[in-house]
Symmetry: C3
Subunit: 441 residues, 3 copies
């Protein structure tokens, strides 16, 4: 149960602007150094930091997965995008994202509250966050910052192998700096999704099946629709698969994502509470494993072969599928959440290929489709949320991600183009844009 | 010092069935949230969870090491097996393994106690494990679940490049679901190995040199004997080495295994006790480093070259060699435990090649031979165990692993075959069984 | 704020030899198991151990980065060197380094205090370190041991692709066993750098921009000057770039280094203090990200392309640039520390190529040049140190590293040669020295 999802209502009761929570906890923990209370604070704080490090590692996971699943001629391009995204993501989150994600002040009540740099507002020097007294302000910042770049990374996978570098970097920056924290603020920042039914029927999305993953998946869908498929994939003779260049690399990526998810979900407990974190670890792992087995079985039946890529996507599908309810769904039900996601992802990938929406790494299916499933699963498999509140959350966030991305990417298309020319695509972006291939003697 | 290894005797004294330990610790730690006792509980719990994550990472280590040391034409097959094993391993451990590993009730006193799903038994909703009140039930489960798949992974390496996929998946599932937890219960689940000499001369195997590693090594040996060597390795003109396909990948694997071992051994302290965990970190690291230097030196002298594969196996040999006594052997003696393992592994690999037992990654030597050495080392290098109890443990567990695996794999051979046909082996399993190679342009 | 940097002055006041600190803290924490004080001790201790594991992972980072940036024909050689270095580094640190780094007794007051094996001195069985009562003796040892091999690893990158294996191994061993801990003792072991201005104007180098990174960078420079550039790089027609063999591998390396730095800097807080560790995480991450963006921008402007290698070096430059002041420089100023390092590293790499100092991975620039910058940045961007004390520290340590390395490597050149012959270099060290290539079918 996240403190963030409870606090909004209480804060509203206290009245906007009078953030009394700030005064309740001891603000100078130095006084408490020898006390159990201080040690508990330090323990919670350390777990948030370790979780931040684990979520950071997910960015290596994404970079490895994406470059492993794509062609070797576009590998440098993919790695470069991923380096840029994490660097840019952390910096923009510092400059504008954090205080937009958790707005101190709403310009449009519950819908928009743009903020300035982290640490610049009044009280920034205080020890703890106003909305979470359980760890330090800067722990909160760094944990959330590591999440922020994820949205852009998801898009990166879907548009790989034909997107124009400059256009993508601008798109990714604006998505991460503004769109992601705005959508997130609706849920985590005391915005309208956290207030549904006066907070009694709040949208429930523990670690972000919707506000992180489906957000990224629908942003990706918008871009892919504008961008079109890679040359040579959908031919008159039917689908011509483009083979992954490096499956060990993709496997490293999927395992690192699985590992990092222990921080993504485990850290979202927002404390080192023993029962909370251990339950989340178990539901997360069980869902991932059920997802992989379900994907393996489904692909074996439908595609008639033991498919490694589907196994990898099955892990990720299960993980995305449990993310919204990792703290609310029981271990046995987490098998259902993960297993269904594992089946879904295979059919979803086939479906998007059928309608010629080309997504080289399956990001729309893994993050978009399974993100929606995971959010609904909270209503189906636990009593933490109602179906209607979940649907309102899903529709609001996905529609916003899609519309924002479509509009922005369309404008970029008009101004500077979003797709490399046919020669570059055929030659590969590595030599064409970066001047050197990824693999040499 | 593991609580698990002490508890059996005490439990016996208390009389079977009256698990008074359950009543002693506070079961609802929510009451203690502000107390030092609660914070200690949460700290111990967090360390077990972080250790679980580290042991999870070892599966990526195994996957990388194995695919790096084998030929590129079988890489997808290896990665697929490893994905399956971790997913299946966690799920079967949930369904049957956990409660077989730590049986609530023995069907055959001290020898067999099959159990049902985790969390389904009475008291499962309780906060802590009955046999270990230091962390939550689910932390205990997930830490042990990450260990369980290891046995099958070890076999995977030894049978690589010619095993039939379906047969291996069935074998691995039954090994992990039943054989591993049964053998483990003898030692960790209050079974007969923990009761030797009425518990005064109990078998000592801290984190599992025998019950995890040698178990896997002897299961592997049985399978390899049935399977036979890879085509073209042992020719009339003598041994023809089959070169590893990707040594950076193998190196990543070995380093990740080394890293994960800090959780494997460190988490086996079963608490965050400062003296316990720090000593285990030091003995683990010193043994690994001594193992690598000893392997490097031995190989340089015997094989006349600085051999990278042997260096990697040297790290692992040292790690397996200290696993049984990481908490009982002193830092200076850990150099001996690791160093001897590092020498042993080189000669063992040469020996198995001499008798034409083909083990592509050296799993039998690293895990089987060095697992035995590590278990004996506890008697030689510390006073935590007697030689006779160690021998009884080694023989029981290794014989069981060997016989179970031989019988099961032999039956599978009769029913469905265990080896791919010669064409498939020559073409490579990736294209033949999975429809696509691991590396493409 | 490191305890190490405060303690020297206090110790001096107490008089050399009377280490009263040893008596103040409770030495047998077993007594305190239920107390907040004990739990705090265990928490601090656990964080040091986790940090040690993270710093260990940096060695995989270095191995991956170096082998990814060099040619495939020298990959086995690079991986072998890195395996040797970590194994040898931990062992020599155990045998001589630890007690030289933190000398119990100075042979030459403040300048040289050679010590024997860890754990062998009087009081070694004591629970805590005499100079840091916040965690156990062995936690202290293992954390510092993981640092020690870094210096040699940095050199490894600079001399790659043409150094003679045996000579390098001897050089690395002596550097790590003696030179590194001696230089370190000046700062961290209560030596003369910690006593500047009677301790009031002590040299400030939080986690080692100078005593680890610049030390390694200047050792590398000395070796490269003796060794000369790789054949075929600087031709009459100008610089002929030697392309990196595996950029995904190099990217894995850089990300693992970034991850490990959370332990390198975060663990250097020497406790799990909430405010301390969270601030260090934030300054570390912000500097790394600013470094990457600055390098990307600089390289794009100067080299006219989006350069992946420069992006990777930008992360590392930013990390090295914040290491000296990660606890003293504010989050906003950490952007400056990292950003300047990111610009510097690009020009530095170009400069060394201009003067034909061939450094295949840019180690001299990343660790040497940015290490100096990071150390100066403490004086420029915080009030923790004066420019003069920083300059004294930089000059002492870099000069010592350079002179020691130059002398030793020169002697090795005379005795046994330090460079492989032209045929070997052309064929590649893997086949010539190790008998097999890194990549095979």
């Amino acid at each position: 149960m996240t403190i963030k999802s409870i606090l909004p209502a209480s804060l509203l009761l206290l009245g906007a602007g009078t953030l009394l929570a700030q005064d309740d906890p001891p603000t100078d923990y130095a006084k408490f150094e020898g006390s159990a209370e201080y040690v508990k604070f330090a323990l919670n704080n350390l777990w948030i930091l370790i979780s931040a490090a684990l979520v950071f590692l997910m960015h290596l996971g994404f970079a490895s997965l994406e470059s492993g699943l794509c062609q070797s001629k576009n590998t440098v391009n993919i790695l470069f995008k991923n380096c840029f995204i994490i660097a840019m993501g952390v910096l923009t989150y510092y400059l504008v994202g954090f205080n937009t994600h958790y707005p101190a002040e709403w310009q449009m009540d519950g819908f928009l509250g743009l903020g300035g740099p982290a640490g610049a507002e009044a009280g920034s020097a205080d020890f703890t966050s106003e909305y979470n007294p359980g760890y330090t302000y800067w722990s909160d910042f760094i944990f959330q910052a590591m999440f922020a770049a994820t949205a852009a990374t998801i898009v990166s996978g879907a548009v790989a192998e034909r997107v124009k570098l400059g256009s993508f970097l601008i798109f990714a920056t604006l998505l991460v700096a503004f769109a992601y924290p705005i959508a997130g603020s609706w849920h985590w920042g005391t915005g309208f999704l956290s207030r549904l039914g006066d907070g009694d029927a709040a949208f429930y999305d523990f670690a972000g099946s919707t506000v992180v993953h489906a957000f990224g998946g629908f942003a990706a869908l918008a871009c892919v629709l504008i961008l079109g498929p890679r040359a040579g994939k959908y031919t008159k003779e039917g689908l011509k698969p483009i083979l992954p260049s490096n499956l060990p690399l993709a496997t490293i990526g999927a395992f690192l994502l699985f590992l990092g998810w222990f921080g993504f979900n485990g850290g979202s407990v927002l404390s080192a509470d023993a029962q909370g974190v251990s339950t989340v670890f178990v539901t997360t792992a069980l869902a991932a494993c059920a997802g992989a087995l379900a994907s393996i079985a489904t692909a074996w039946i439908v595609l008639k072969k033991p498919d490694l890529s589907m196994a990898l996507n099955g892990f990720l599908a299960g993980l995305v599928g449990i993310t919204a309810g990792a703290d609310a769904i029981s271990p046995s039900m987490s098998l259902v959440a993960g297993g269904v996601a594992g089946v879904l992802v295979v059919f979803s990938i086939m479906f998007f290929d059928k309608i010629k929406v080309d997504d080289p790494v399956g990001a729309i299916s893994v993050h978009g489709v399974c993100g929606i499933w995971g959010t609904l699963a909270v209503a189906f498999l636990s009593d933490a949320a109602t179906l209607s509140s979940q649907l309102i959350g899903i529709v609001s966030v996905c529609a916003f991600a899609f519309v924002f991305s479509f509009a922005l990417f369309f404008i970029l298309k008009l101004i500077m183009g979003v797709r490399v020319d046919a020669d570059e695509e055929s030659e590969g972006l590595d030599v064409a844009e970066h001047g050197a291939p990824a693999y040499n003697k």
